[in-house]
Amino acid sequence: MTKGMVYKSIFILLLITFSVLLILPTVGTKKMEIRLTDSVTAQDIETINKRFSSGSYKLEMNDKIIIVSGTNITDAIMNEVKIYTGVADVKLLKHWVETYFLAKKINLGLDLQGGMYLVLQANFEGIQAKLGRELTEKDKNEITQQALELLRNRIDKFGVSEPSIRPRGNDAIEIQLPGVKDPSGVKKAIGTTGSLEYRLVDDKYTAMASAWFAQNYKDKKLPESQDEYKGILLEISKAISLPDTLETLFFYNRNKDTGAVVPEYPIVLQKEISLNGTDIQEATVDRDEYGQVVVVFKTTADGAAKFAKATSEPNHGKKLAIVLDNKVRNAPNIKETIASGSGNISGGFAYEEALTLARIIKEGALPVDLRIVEERTVGPSLGQDSIESGVKAFAVGIIGIMVFAIGYYRMGGVFANLGLILNMIFTVAILSLLGFTLTVPGIAGFLLSVAMAVDANVIIYERIKEELKKGKSIRIAIENGFDRAFWTIFDSNLTTILAAFILFQYGTGPIKGFAVTLFVGIIVSMFVALYLTRFVYELLALNKKMKKLSI
């Protein structure tokens, strides 16, 4: 062995060690920590135990913490457990490799782990009308970014961990929420367009409407669908012969048990809008000087004047309703004129209630109209089935190829298989470094790259065989074989790389995933075949006594 070869060996060994380390968080055992609430019951714990009762999980419990370990623990499972009763918090514990190196585990796409995928498209017409000019691409980009921040807030509040929220182009936002059980809830939370208005309440007619409602709908349950409410509201308005300037809406409250927002009683409002949602700049929860929970808000410069007008002397004692998407969510009393542009709403709120209100006001300030244009939800079991059968098929496929390779090329097949294993390790390692998300098309890309890795070996070995047939010595045959195969492999793979590059640059979500695996896979397979395998054969060729090459 020459000195160069020694260095090369050391380099290769280091590379392999590092790569194996990098793939540990992805293929190794993962741990999830479940913290239980103080009021957790034995039954709650039983439910958790049952969820992880299948053989592949291990549970450790001490005090109020359960540690689940297993190879199949995903964000979706984390989010699923999070909403169990008696569970305070769930988090995936970081693998030590993740802590010390740059590696991240490869996330599974929603098609594989289950969850919800949404694309929201921004509609700028409203803003353009307000500004009275066409928005530039830069404006649109900025507004989308702003909406993105707000959406992130909303989703964080929803308690979904590991959400992915990304802009798509200048006017759309892509949201991925692993393991969401209640898509309609999420959709409502993030799809609310924020048509928030502040309108004055008419007490006289409200009293009449309430009386009528109490009499006619006392025992009857309210219908389920939104559309039917409109009918009832019209009925009420007609019954109390409401003037044209007024409108009846329902006052909504959050049901404490179910968490659903339900209509409680009718309330009559001015049709005229005193203040728009966008006239408010921010809203936060705070405590006033008496220690009461209040919602503090600040208006925009424009809004301050409007607010001063709405809270002026004649309106003192009246209520100002906060109307979100035609639902009255709150109606605080006007106590004094607020001209400074900042004020607060008090009302003996529980902290949660105040938080919800502040949230509503903030959401009203969301400046852009977002519409869901694409939505995909995959149930957890379907995703689970996909990943299990996908992995199984992949494993059987690879083993079959390996057996075939050994059967055909003997010793050469063994080296080819080693190369194939290294190929997969390197690919997964690089994808880990990139923080990649694996989807079904991604598996396809991976498969194609494995096929090309096999192909590279076949091309090389066939060349070496040809050279041997021509009567060349083993050393020369190996050298010529690799040299000649080099450009064949290079050219054929480079065209594929070009295609992958285009797909990556201009493709959307899943196609991008396909392109990345293909791209990385092909580069790695070229490296393994043309560098590593070649090196192994160069080492073999050092053995001058070798008479026959098993290939």
Binding site: D111, Q121, P183, R371, I372, V373, E374, E375, R376, T377, G379, L382, S386, S389, G390, K392, A393, F394, G397, G400, I401, F404, A405, V440, P441, I443, A444, G445, L447, L448, V450, A451, M452, V454, D455, V458, E462, E466, K469, W487, T488, D491, S492, N493, L494, T495, T496, L498, A499, F501, I502, L503, Y506, G507, T508, G509, P510, I511, F514, L518
Partner: protein, 303 residues
């Protein structure tokens, strides 16, 4: 090994046969009612629902949801009682204006779910997808753009690294692959969606790879050519690379076959397209790409 198989002797039969198959597949597709664009490209609503009641069948569901004009298809194991229910925008009356379609169709999908729950007991929705018309349009356009750019870039590379005749042969062969594989999706009623698009792209990658290995050998053999014709050179090159072509083809086919057999529902149609496409792609490398290159060479020489 020394014997050269005269592949190109049969080029007319092969190309004729190839086109006969393509025409048959396309004709069958149109008799069956054209291509089955998935909601990714057409826009629409798709759910996978699991029914408790085992007496449910495709026909029963279709009848119950008649108002929505759905396609219903049973998937997975018999005992699982799982069905894919799809309604596309073009099937419904609401697709008239883009804006209103976004709005009304959403509530329409809720209606569909509601009807399903009313008419059957114990329905659990396994997955649910909605794609608006604008997105379908966007995805379709970007798919075309991608294909076009990828082909263009590969042609330029081939023309640069090899010669124009190889670029022409490679690209015409690639277009053949595209027509053949899309026709196959058509006749099998395979839903053309983003995943199938990925499978198709995989095929084109595989096929062009296969073609270039042969071209590379043609180029090499051509440089050593003495008195033989270009056709003989091509035959020799194909023969010499035949072992490689078959070995790679068989191993890849094996991997895909396993995926098809035990890869589960998500990969079923996907691997079916790959299975067919790998065979077609291998064939096109030998019998489309090579004859085209030969003809181009002859045409240039005659000029």
């Amino acid at each position: 090994m020394e014997k050269t198989i005269k592949f190109l002797k049969y080029k007319y039969i092969a190309i004729g046969g190839y086109w006969a198959v393509v025409i048959m597949l396309l004709a069958g597709t149109f008799i069956n009612g054209g291509f089955n664009y998935g909601i990714d490209f057409a826009g629409g609503y798709k759910i996978i629902a699991k029914f408790q009641d085992s007496s449910v069948s495709e026909g029963v569901i279709r009848k119950a949801l008649n108002d929505f004009n759905p396609t219903v298809q049973k998937i997975g194991e018999e005992s699982k009682n799982q069905y894919i229910i799809t309604t596309k925008l073009e099937n419904t009356a609401v697709a008239s204006s883009k804006d209103s379609a976004d709005q009304t169709s959403n509530s329409k999908y809720d209606m569909l779910k509601k009807t399903l729950n009313e008419k059957f007991t114990g329905v659990s929705i396994q997955s649910e997808e909605t794609v608006g018309p604008a997105i379908g349009d966007y995805l379709r356009k970007s798919a075309w753009k991608l294909t076009f750019m990828a082909v263009l870039l590969m042609s330029i590379y081939l023309a640069f690294r090899f010669e124009v005749k190889y670029a022409v042969g490679g690209m015409i062969s690639l277009f053949h692959d595209m027509i053949m594989s899309v026709a196959f999706c058509g006749i099998m009623g395979i839903e053309i969606n983003v995943q199938i698009l990925a499978a198709l792209l995989t095929l084109y990658g595989y096929s062009i790879n296969d073609t270039i290995v042969i071209f590379d050998r043609i180029r090499e053999t051509d440089q050593l050519r003495a008195k033989t014709t270009f056709e003989d050179v091509i035959n020799k090159a194909i023969t010499q690379t035949l072992t490689r072509t078959l070995l790679t083809g068989v191993t890849t086919l094996f991997a895909v076959l396993v995926l098809f057999l035990i890869g589960g529902e998500a990969l079923h149609e996907f691997s079916l397209v790959l299975l067919f496409g790998i065979i077609a792609g291998t064939f096109s490398s030998i019998y489309i790409a090579s004859p085209i290159t030969l003809w181009w060479e002859k045409w240039r020489a005659a000029k």
